[in-house]
């Protein structure tokens, strides 16, 4: 019997992670999760996300939604308990702004992971500058922000999850270092709270497995993904 909700995902993806946590917070637990091999994409994935050919792909009945942050907003509007986004329009705008900022920064961090030499350094430097802006912006605000309701995770936290958990793995896998706890005390404290939150903890991919995967990606990215 077909389930109402299906999620196409990949275990190491910070984007898929966002959707998993969102669904769990909303109490949507009886859905079908399908692990995709992103190096050998299924016809179904290519059919359901012809524009980007990426996971996550979120299927709700007849409806298909792509792009993780857009999926989060869809989930928040469809299942209204335990909100992901703030109620206040200005706070919502701030959450959306910083989520977008973080996506742009992720590109640089990922480039630092997979590139070598000068290009790697340039991206790492630009990434560090961007991260400093986030550190500055969220100074003085305690971790676990922009969520409504005690114990909830918010949209912005999910958007930032890659900084709070994936980034240290990328640094190790790609031999670059940005997250100095002296320079980024806010982000470091936030990371600790984040990875220890029960909802987050149970959805995080295992670190050692991630390290192997991202190390390989760092070395072989341009052959694995013909750019």
């Amino acid at each position: 019997m077909a389930k109402e909700v299906t999620l196409l995902g990949f275990w190491a993806s910070p984007f898929v992670f966002r959707v998993k946590v969102a669904l769990q917070q909303k109490g949507v637990v009886d859905y079908e999760y399908i692990e995709e091999d992103i190096f050998n994409k299924s016809p179904r994935l290519l059919e359901l996300n012809p524009v980007y050919k990426k996971v996550p792909v979120f299927i709700h009945g007849e409806k298909v939604v792509n792009e993780s942050l857009i999926i989060l907003e869809y989930i928040d509007e469809t299942w209204q308990q335990n909100p992901l986004l703030p109620r206040d329009p200005y706070q919502r705008a701030m959450a959306r702004f910083w989520a977008k900022y973080s996506e742009e920064l992720m590109v640089k961090a990922f480039m630092a992971l997979v590139l070598k030499g000068e290009a790697k350094e340039k991206n790492a430097k630009e990434f560090a500058e961007g991260l400093e802006k986030i550190e500055g912006e969220f100074k003085g605000k305690s971790g676990l922000l922009f969520a409504e309701g005690e114990g909830n995770i918010g949209y912005l936290e999910l958007a930032f999850g890659w900084i709070l958990y994936w980034l240290p793995v990328w640094e190790e896998a790609g031999s670059f270092q940005i997250l100095d706890p002296q320079k980024f005390p806010v982000i470091n404290e936030w990371s600790t709270k984040f990875v220890n939150h029960p909802l987050i903890k149970e959805n995080l991919p295992a670190r050692d497995r991630m390290l192997v995967y991202f190390r390989k990606l760092s070395e072989e990215f341009f052959t694995l993904f013909r750019a």
Partner: protein, 228 residues
């Protein structure tokens, strides 16, 4: 419930006359009848206010509503739609909203970049990127699918974002003397362009043609001499 502007309410838009991102905010505000103060920025000499209101990017447009700044044009559009809910820009239905956000993002994050590359690449790379551009425009062509506008019978979020395609693409093409984006290839999109550019408020919010042509010509010259 329609929120009207009171004496205490203040709406300011920091923008530039030639920017499609800035113009789309003007359009949204005008569509909703929101009075606002417009401040033209000189990007070679950014005002202290702009730097204060958008320290992360130092870019326009920035909307300031009762002293609270918002940057990023699509974030601003959503904010405007939530504060002033007459003449809605986004649909009500969550799935339709998701689709609107998806295509809006696609245009700004993919189509614009591909178009830039296609315009200035050479040789084999130009061929490949132009092909990519055609594929991307084909998605938009199919999305219109017999509707007058992306938003249905009236213009919506995607139409407002896509005005960059309706107005800026043909203009740049004219200056460059290329003909990649044609009615022959994209009849549905060109029909949409005709319809949307017939709308008064859209025309109120577009750069004046001669001035715009001259500006684009100058920018392209700059880019060409910079790359030599």
């Amino acid at each position: 419930k329609c929120k009207t502007l009171t004496m205490a309410e203040e709406v300011k838009l920091y923008g530039t006359w030639s920017s499609p991102f800035s113009r789309r905010i003007e359009l949204a505000l005008k569509l909703k009848g929101v009075p606002f103060e417009y401040i033209e920025e000189d990007l070679s000499n950014k005002s202290p206010e702009l730097l204060k209101y958008n320290p992360a990017h130092k870019k326009i447009p920035v909307l300031v509503h009762n002293s609270k700044p918002i940057a990023e044009s699509q974030v601003i559009l959503e904010y405007i739609d939530e504060i002033w809910n007459n003449n809605p820009i986004l649909p009500q239905d969550p799935y339709q909203r998701a689709m609107a956000r998806f295509w809006g993002k696609f245009i700004d994050e993919k189509v614009l970049a591909t178009r830039m590359k296609a315009n200035f690449a050479e040789g084999k790379e130009r061929e490949l990127v132009t092909e990519e551009f055609f594929q991307q425009m084909e998605f938009l062509e199919n999305e219109l699918n017999g509707k007058d506008f992306f938003g249905g019978e009236t213009i919506g979020f995607v139409d407002i974002v896509a005005i960059v395609v309706a107005i800026w693409f043909p203009l740049t093409q004219e200056v460059l003397g290329v003909d990649t984006f044609t009615e022959e290839k994209f009849p549905v999109l060109f029909k949409w362009i005709r319809k949307i550019t017939e709308i008064d408020v859209v025309n109120e919010c577009r750069p004046p043609r001669e001035k715009h042509l001259a500006y684009v010509k100058a920018r392209i010259e700059d880019l060409k001499s910079a790359s030599k």
